[in-house]
């Protein structure tokens, strides 16, 4: 990008299970927004624009940003609510800064609700075709997991290994909802939910809150010595009623990644990216995404997994946060991953050494409401710098 934009501060609380936070979304959002401001000595009056990520269906009320926006500092400010993902919110923040309209933008989101997610994600489907057959997010995950299993002739145990890798990472992440080191055997022993996916291979819904401050180059230099620069963003969406090939081949991720890479001037992703945070609410999506993003040939991501390349200490760590299996927050999950990547680039996470990591890729998606058709994807490139 010609003009530079940075993430200058983050606020985050430890994620918990549904309804375990003891906070409504305004209280949780206030806590993390204030934290983000305090970290760099900024005040509400310094904010030019506030972006909130919520989805009414996941908050149980309409206009669900009504409570949140003032909690993030939006009273008497420009603000917008985006009903998709964290990367989409950051896109809006970056656009407002690059237009010259803003110098400092708050992006915040929270999840504080307990709900029957199977029912809610069925309610999210269309009423004529998919809704009446009870289709929901978890079933869409099962279909993609089946497709990958059959196409690449891999073992169900490989899915358990991906889950195990994520649980090991989540166990040392102080912000992750699930901190338990489930073994491959324990995962294999958990019951099928949507064959071939087992209970411990699908993320449980998490509650928590997260915020970050996005700044123009001038403002970033004024506020911090530790900015993480946004070098590229790509957004795309997929077909809703399409062929199975269109619904399963993740062309939308490829396109989002290409846009973000081109903007960041990245020539060779494999050589240049040091770590990744991928939205993977079910274990094998990590493999599907790595291949779609171009980090290996189709069907070969499992080799990277089994070689330990994507684990803590590997050549390309993926989801050091513990990923969607350890923290699966519908509204704030995207921002959670962005903040995790920022903390990793700044080597701020206890339990993992990310000292020499310079460039991160964050993939974000609204696939938590259904992964086959009508899915939005976002890819964000981040660079450590001065």
């Amino acid at each position: 990008m010609k003009n530079k934009v940075a993430i200058v501060s983050c606020g985050i609380i430890k994620y918990e299970g549904q309804n375990e936070l003891g906070m409504w979304n305004d209280e949780a959002t206030f806590k993390v927004s204030k934290m983000a401001l305090d970290n760099v000595g900024a005040e509400k009056d310094d904010l030019d624009f506030v972006v909130i990520s919520t989805m009414d269906g996941l908050d149980g009320i309409t206009i669900s940003n009504g409570l949140l926006a003032p909690a993030a500092g939006a009273y008497n400010k420009s603000s917008v609510r985006i009903e998709t993902t964290g990367v989409h919110c950051i896109f809006s923040a970056v656009a407002d800064i690059l237009s010259g309209n803003s110098n400092l933008v708050m992006v915040a989101s929270s999840d504080t609700l307990e709900m029957d997610f199977g029912y809610v994600t069925n309610f999210n489907q269309d009423v004529y075709f998919r809704g009446p057959v009870g289709f929901n997010a978890s079933q869409s995950y099962g279909m993609l997991a089946m497709d990958y299993l059959k196409k690449h002739n891999i073992d169900e145990k490989d899915y358990a290994r991906i889950a195990n890798k994520n649980y090991l990472a989540g166990a040392v992440n102080p912000y992750a909802h699930i901190n338990k080191k489930y073994s491959t055997e324990e995962i294999m022993a958990s019951p099928y939910v949507n064959w071939p996916l087992r209970s411990l291979e699908i993320g449980k819904i998490s509650n928590g809150a997260v915020a970050c401050l996005i700044a123009s180059e001038e403002k970033a230099k004024e506020l911090t010595d530790n900015p993480v620069w946004i070098s590229g963003i790509g957004l795309t969406s997929s077909q809703y009623l399409g062929s199975w090939k269109e619904l399963s081949d993740m062309k939308a991720i490829k396109k989002a990644c290409k846009k973000a890479s081109d903007m960041a001037g990245i020539k060779d992703l494999k050589k240049e990216i040091d770590l990744m945070e991928i939205t993977a609410p079910f274990a094998p999506f990590e493999l599907i995404a790595m291949e779609s993003l171009g980090f290996c040939e189709e069907g070969k991501a499992v080799d990277m997994l089994n070689n330990g390349d994507t684990s803590i200490g590997g050549t390309l760590p993926v989801n050091l946060s513990g990923g969607g299996l350890c923290t699966n927050a519908p509204n704030s999950g995207g921002l959670f991953r962005v903040v995790q990547a920022v903390k990793q680039l700044n080597n701020e996470l206890d339990g993992v050494n990310t000292e020499n990591m310079e460039k991160a890729l964050v993939h974000d998606s609204d696939m938590f409401i259904g992964a086959v058709g009508g899915v939005s994807h976002g890819v964000l490139m981040l660079e450590k710098g001065e």
Binding site: M23, Y119, P132, Q139, G142, S243
Partner: protein, 159 residues
């Protein structure tokens, strides 16, 4: 959690209604008569029909009709009952395990998601072994049909 925190429970119970539009309306009315209606858009075949070609944004060219036979492109075996979701024909939840499949009707260039049944076993691994990608299936019609997707009770393998 502080002693001052209380918990509030609530439930949505609103009534909504939405028109199908001409294109989907023809498809659902066809189901009432055990017909599968499709159309041609930009030389591509679609069952169910599409109201427009998303590649060219042009209107469809012609209507089609077939018996609904197709192939399985993907599936999952649902092992947990969907809480809250009830099915209009029976007002019940299906017994688990049951199969939801991605079905391509005839030479359609998009697919539908529907139940696949007729496996004579409730063992998940046995059901998984019995379903091949590309397996031929045909619709089994509900006795009482009202112009909706569940006028097809389920798809069953063509032996």
């Amino acid at each position: 959690m502080s002693n001052n925190v209380i918990k509030k429970e609530w439930r949505f119970n609103f009534d909504f209604s939405v028109a199908s539009g001409e294109t989907y309306g023809r498809f659902f009315k066809g189901l009432n008569d055990k017909k599968i209606i499709g159309n041609i858009c930009n030389n591509r075949t679609f069952y169910p029909p599409k109201p427009f070609c998303d590649k060219t944004l042009k209107p469809p060219d012609a209507w089609l009709e077939c018996d609904g036979a197709g192939i399985v492109e993907a599936f999952t075996i649902c092992c947990e009952k969907s809480n809250g979701v009830k099915f209009s024909k029976t007002d019940k939840k299906p017994d688990v395990p049951y199969v939801l499949g991605v079905i391509k009707i005839k030479d359609s260039e998009h697919c539908i998601i529907h139940f696949i049944s007729g496996f004579e076993t409730k063992d998940v691994s046995e059901i998984a072994d019995k379903i091949e990608i590309g397996m031929k299936v045909k619709p089994v019609w509900a006795t009482k049909r009202e112009g909706e997707i569940l006028d097809i009770e389920y798809f069953e393998p063509v032996i």
